[in-house]
C-alpha cells in the first residue's frame, strides 16, 4: 500500500531513473510509513527519563532511554495538563502514545498522551490475574460476607502505628462512640514486610483480643504503596478473620483485592471508622432516654391499672360489707313486719265480719222470736227437759208453757184421749 502510494506520486518510469528523492520527499514517505503502522500509533514504551525540559510553551520534552537506545519524547501541552505523575529526570516510566516524525529535524519521536510509573502495567496484570483467581475461588462472594454488627464494644485496628490514617480513625471513633475499646495491631503497610505484617496483625487480633470488628486501613498512596493489600496472603487472612473486617485503603478511587475480600469496603480510613460506628453515642443516649421514659410510663400505667382495680374492688367490697347486709336485714325485717301487720289487720277484719254473720245467724235462731209468732215452748218441770214428742209426757206431769210474754204452769191429762 505504501509502495503503491509512492508509485502514484512517482511513476515507475521516473522512479527507476536516476532522479533522486529530496530529503523532504523521503522524510514524508517515512512519516507516512510510520503513521500508517498500527503498532507505532498505539504503543506503550518504558524507559528512564533524561534531558527533561519544560519550556514556557507548556509542552514537555525529554529523552526516554534504556541501556541500549534512546527515544525522543514530547508531551503536548493539552496532554501535559492531564498527566497523573509529573515526569522527572531519572524517573522510570511507562509512556503511551504514537510515533511520528519531526520532519525538520529528521527525528522520529513519541507523542505521549499518558504516563505511569514503570512497572505499573505489570502490576495491573498481576492484579487482574489474582483477582480472577480469587474470585473464582469464591473469596469475594457477597453471600460469604458477614453483616457488620450495629452495636460494637471492642474494635481492632490494623494499620501503621505512625500513619495519619490511625489518627483519623481514632478521632472519628472518639467523636462518634468514646465508649469503644480500641485495640491497635500496628504493622508496616507498605514494603516487603507489609503483607506478612498485615496477616500477622489480623490473626493476632482475632487470637488475643477477639474484637467485634476489625478495621484494616491505610492512607492514600500510589498503587505500589497500596500493593501489600493486593497480596494473596492478606486477602486470605481477611477472609479467615473471625471478626468481620471493614477496609479503608487509600482513596475513593483505589480498589485493592483486600477491599473485595472485606465484609465491607469503605473509601477511606475515616469512612471505615464511621461505618464501624453505625450506632453513635448520641443515638445510644436517645435510646436510653426512650427506655427510661418507657420505664416511667410502664410503671405509671401499671399503677393506674392497679388503682382502678382497687377502686373497683372497693366498690364490690362495700357491696358485700356486713353493714349493707344489716341494712338489708333491717329492710327485710321492716317489710316482713309490715306484711305481718297487714295480714293481721286483714285477718281481724275478716273475723269481725264473720262474727257479725254468726251473730245474725244466731239471732235468727233465737227461740224467743218463734214465741213472738204464737208458738210456745213446753218443758217438764221435773227435769226442765224440752217436750218435743207425745211419748215424753205422762199424765199428771207438771209442765211449764212458755209463751211470748211469760210462762204459765200446766198439768198433763190422760194420754189416751190424745192418742185416739
Amino acid at each position: 500500500m505504501n509502495k503503491g502510494m509512492l508509485a502514484n506520486m512517482y511513476p515507475p518510469s521516473l522512479f527507476k531513473s536516476t532522479i533522486s528523492l529530496t530529503v523532504s520527499e523521503l522524510t514524508r514517505y517515512l512519516r507516512q510509513l510510520m503513521e500508517s503502522d498500527e503498532i507505532l500509533q498505539n504503543v506503550w514504551v518504558q524507559g528512564e527519563i533524561s534531558n527533561l525540559s519544560r519550556p514556557a510553551s507548556g509542552h514537555i520534552y525529554f529523552t526516554l532511554k534504556d541501556s541500549g537506545a534512546s527515544l525522543r519524547c514530547v508531551v503536548w501541552r493539552s496532554s501535559a495538563a492531564r498527566l497523573k505523575i509529573s515526569p522527572q529526570d531519572g524517573m522510570g516510566i511507562e509512556a503511551h502514545g504514537n510515533i511520528n516524525l519531526y520532519e525538520s529535524a529528521g527525528q522520529y519521536q513519541l507523542n505521549i498522551d499518558t504516563l505511569r510509573p514503570k512497572g505499573e502495567g505489570a502490576l495491573h496484570q498481576e492484579f487482574m490475574r489474582l483477582k480472577i483467581l480469587l474470585e473464582e475461588e469464591g473469596l469475594f462472594d457477597n453471600d460469604r460476607k458477614r453483616p457488620i454488627p450495629g452495636s460494637i464494644k471492642r474494635i481492632g485496628i490494623v494499620t501503621s502505628p505512625t500513619g495519619a490514617a490511625l489518627q483519623d480513625m481514632l478521632n472519628t471513633l472518639k467523636r462518634r462512640n468514646p465508649m469503644l475499646e480500641v485495640f491497635l495491631a500496628g504493622t508496616a503497610v507498605q514494603g516487603d514486610g507489609a503483607p506478612d505484617g498485615l496477616v500477622n496483625a489480623i490473626q493476632i487480633l482475632n487470637q488475643i483480643v477477639n474484637p467485634d470488628l476489625i478495621l484494616v486501613a491505610r492512607g492514600g498512596g500510589s498503587i505500589e504503596d497500596l500493593w501489600a493489600f493486593n497480596d494473596e496472603r492478606v486477602v486470605r487472612a481477611i477472609v479467615a478473620s473471625q471478626a468481620p473486617v471493614i477496609t479503608g485503603i487509600g482513596h475513593e478511587t483505589d480498589f485493592t483485592l483486600s477491599d473485595f475480600a472485606a465484609d465491607l469496603r469503605a473509601p477511606t480510613p475515616t469512612a471505615a471508622a464511621e461505618l464501624a460506628t453505625s450506632v453513635t453515642m448520641d443515638e445510644m443516649k436517645d435510646q436510653l432516654e426512650h427506655a427510661s421514659s418507657m420505664l416511667e410510663s410502664a410503671v405509671n400505667d401499671m399503677l393506674g391499672i392497679k388503682r382502678n382495680e382497687t377502686v373497683d374492688c372497693t366498690t364490690r367490697l362495700q357491696y358485700c360489707s356486713p353493714s349493707r347486709r344489716i341494712q338489708n336485714s333491717w329492710q327485710g325485717l321492716d317489710t316482713m313486719t309490715r306484711r305481718m301487720l297487714a295480714t293481721q289487720r286483714h285477718r281481724l277484719a275478716l273475723e269481725a265480719t264473720r262474727l257479725e254473720g254468726v251473730k245474725e245467724h244466731l239471732s235468727s235462731l233465737n227461740p224467743m222470736d218463734v214465741l213472738k209468732r204464737g208458738y210456745s215452748i213446753v218443758t217438764r218441770d221435773l227435769d226442765n227437759g224440752l217436750i218435743t214428742r207425745t211419748e215424753q209426757v205422762s199424765a199428771g206431769d207438771k209442765l211449764s208453757v212458755r209463751v211470748k210474754n211469760g210462762t204459765f204452769p200446766v198439768q198433763a191429762q190422760s194420754q189416751d184421749q190424745e192418742r185416739s
Partner: protein, 78 residues
C-alpha cells in the same frame, strides 16, 4: 432478669448489660405479671440502671490499647 438470683450490683454492669436489663425490665413491667411490691422494686432497679447507663455514656473516654507482641499496652491518644 432472673428473679430468683440476687441481682448484680448496678455499678458493676457494663453499658450493654445495664441497657439490655433495662429493656427487659420495661418489658416485664409492661406485661403486668408481677405483684405490686415487686414492680416497685423493679422500677427502682430500672431507675438505677438508667442512671448507670447515663453515667457511663457521660464519662466515656476512648480507651486504646496497642498489641505489643502478644501483650496489650495502653496507648495515649490525643
Amino acid at each position: 432478669m432472673n428473679k430468683k438470683s440476687e441481682p448484680i450490683d448496678v455499678d458493676k454492669l457494663t453499658y450493654e448489660e445495664a441497657f439490655s436489663e433495662l429493656i427487659a425490665l420495661v418489658e416485664a413491667l409492661e406485661s403486668d405479671e408481677h405483684p405490686l411490691d415487686e414492680t416497685m422494686i423493679l422500677f427502682e432497679r430500672g431507675q438505677a440502671l438508667s442512671h448507670r447507663c447515663s453515667t457511663l455514656l457521660d464519662s466515656a473516654e476512648l480507651k486504646v490499647q496497642q498489641l505489643s507482641g502478644k501483650n496489650l499496652v495502653d496507648l495515649d491518644v490525643d
